[in-house]
Amino acid sequence: MRPAGYLLFLALLPLVLNDFWLTLVATRALILGIIALSLTFLATYLGVVSFAQATLAGVAGYTIAYFGPNTVGVGFELPFLVSIPLALILSTITGGAIGLIARQSRGIYAIMITLAIGVAFFYFTRQNYALFNGWTGFSGIRAPEIAGVSLRDPAALYLLSLGTAALAMVLVAGFVRSPMGLSVQAVRDAPGRLLALGIPVTTPIVTAFAFSGFLAGSGGILNIWYQERISSFSVGLGPIIDILIVSVIGGLRHPSGAFVGAVVFVLLDTFAVDLIDRERFNTLIGAVLLLIVIVAPNGLQQLAKDGFGRLRQSNSNATE
């Protein structure tokens, strides 16, 4: 029961970490990791790198903002028990719709199309005031309270994010072993052959995207409670690239890489300021991405695994 052990250890962190580490590092990494998980899931099992994951997280976030307490006077308030499921449903449907649009595209074509969708959504939120309140977006968003404790409370939000992340991993593991999950992987391996078995490929693709929308949406809800605001910049190229960088750092070959990447990214983001000019963070992160693409195209996780493998091999060679 190693995963349970890790989980218990992580759940006890609020006892030892101060609010800075807990909120700005741990919680932020978890939330970013959940959203990036929606991408590594797609990349690993459908073989499609999607640039529309910030859009999916944004759809859920905007839903919470529009139907929740905010200080910009746009939208109307619904109880959280309604708005949260609604946000998840909308991000799931949007995910499915994106899958439907991109269903015939693989590789770089899928990247181009999802990127175009993501950026078009960004411009749309900037132009549209009725639903998205233009480029200023929503602020003053409050997380719900349970028994007098706000979910924005550092320990509460951390535990909620941890629980969501663990649940998301369990769901991914279950999904890929389900009949539909098998079809999804079959589409990645040999779509033509799946057709020859009489299984249409559109359903698995749309389902995988919809599931990815669900994952991104749950991360998006946590993110808006964490940020307490959302605007077009939350779905712009910045977050699109951030999610991609997190996934690439962790590796696009295994879903859990998202969390490894998220921790590295957040640590860089938090402490780079001590190393370089705060203003030049993008140059640093771009250089990190470039370095990883050149040196470790399968991500840090794979690099570590290979490294350990080689280490173990040389050890066993030495003992023989």
Binding site: I108, M112, A120, G286, A287, L289, L290
Partner: protein, 296 residues
């Protein structure tokens, strides 16, 4: 009543001309992007950054020398040089691994955008126009006034399009590029110096982007974010028009440019949706793009 109708008509004409202006710019930007993609299957995500670099360099040169033509030329050359370095220094080493190239070009575009922000700041720049191009023209027949630079831009796009068509259809390099679209391995097996050709085509794509950048900075203006705007438009233009085809880029640019301007004029808060809708409809009906060939 009649003046009212005339007002509508004038507005429509102006919006159409604006759409054509934008389409001309989008074509200039997308043609280089499409050319690179067509030959080497590389999605150059740094294309917008190359365009912006050209625009900034062009501005600086016009600012110091006062020569607009020199500005366009040096903007184009700067981006061509940067493009060649990108291909020779990074992307060329990953030839064949398209996903890796895409990711690497994203990293490069992030770094370029940040360094340009550092050097040129967050200001909006507009290149000062030479005498001949400033001012406007009352157009015959249509009876509306329109800026000279924008008319020149349309002519420039037309000339560039024809030149590209000639290059690809009528020259030896063009024959190689057309062959490359069909079969890279074949070219390599036949002993063509394909790595050098790739660098050359990347430089050509950069040249087109860079000149488009200076012209965008003249007809409109440039600022941080312009790179993203033109990267998006290039993506949509080649998705709609078809990958690796000059005619496709032209058709895609026309559709997207006009849709964007009509959208802006008649449905301001849903403008982005039009671009998006065009893309979705084309993907549903013809996934390879209007003038593209089917993916193998």
């Amino acid at each position: 009543m009649i003046t009212g109708m005339g007002g509508h008509m004038t507005l429509f004409l102006i919006v159409t001309l604006n759409g054509l202006t934008l389409a001309a710019l989008y074509f200039l930007a997308a043609s280089g992007f499409s050319l690179i993609f067509g030959l080497m299957r590389t999605v150059n995500m740094a294309h917008g950054a190359l365009l912006l670099l050209g625009g900034y360099v062009g501005y600086s040169v016009v600012d110091t020398t006062g020569s607009w033509a020199l500005g366009v030329l040096s903007g184009g050359l700067a981006a061509a040089f940067a493009g060649a370095i990108v291909q020779a220094g990074v992307l060329g080493w990953m030839q064949g691994d398209e996903l890796r190239q895409t990711l690497a070009s994203i990293a490069i575009s992030i770094i370029m955008a940040d360094l340009m922000l550092w050097y040129w700041g967050g200001l909006t720049y507009q290149v000062e126009l030479p005498e001949a191009l400033s001012g406007g023209q009352r157009l015959p027949v249509l009876g509306v006034g329109y800026a000279n630079i924008r008319l020149a831009l349309m002519v420039f796009a037309l000339v560039t399009g024809l030149a590209l068509w000639f290059l690809i259809q009528r020259t030896r390099l063009g024959a190689v590029i057309r062959a490359g679209v069909d079969d890279q391995d074949m070219l390599r097996a036949l002993g063509f110096p394909i790595n050098r050709i790739f660098i050359l085509v990347f430089a050509l794509g950069g040249l087109l982007a860079g000149m488009a950048g200076v012209i965008a900075a003249s007809a409109l203006s440039i600022a941080p974010g312009t790179d993203l705007q033109f990267l998006l438009s290039s993506l949509v233009v080649v998705i709609v028009g078809g990958m690796g085809s000059v005619g496709g880029a032209a058709l895609g640019a026309l559709l997207v440019g006009l849709a964007e301007q009509y959208g802006l004029a008649y449905a301001p808060t849903y403008g982005a949706v039009f671009t998006f809708a065009i893309m979705v409809v084309v993907l549903a009906v013809r996934p390879q793009g209007l003038l593209g060939r089917a993916e193998k």
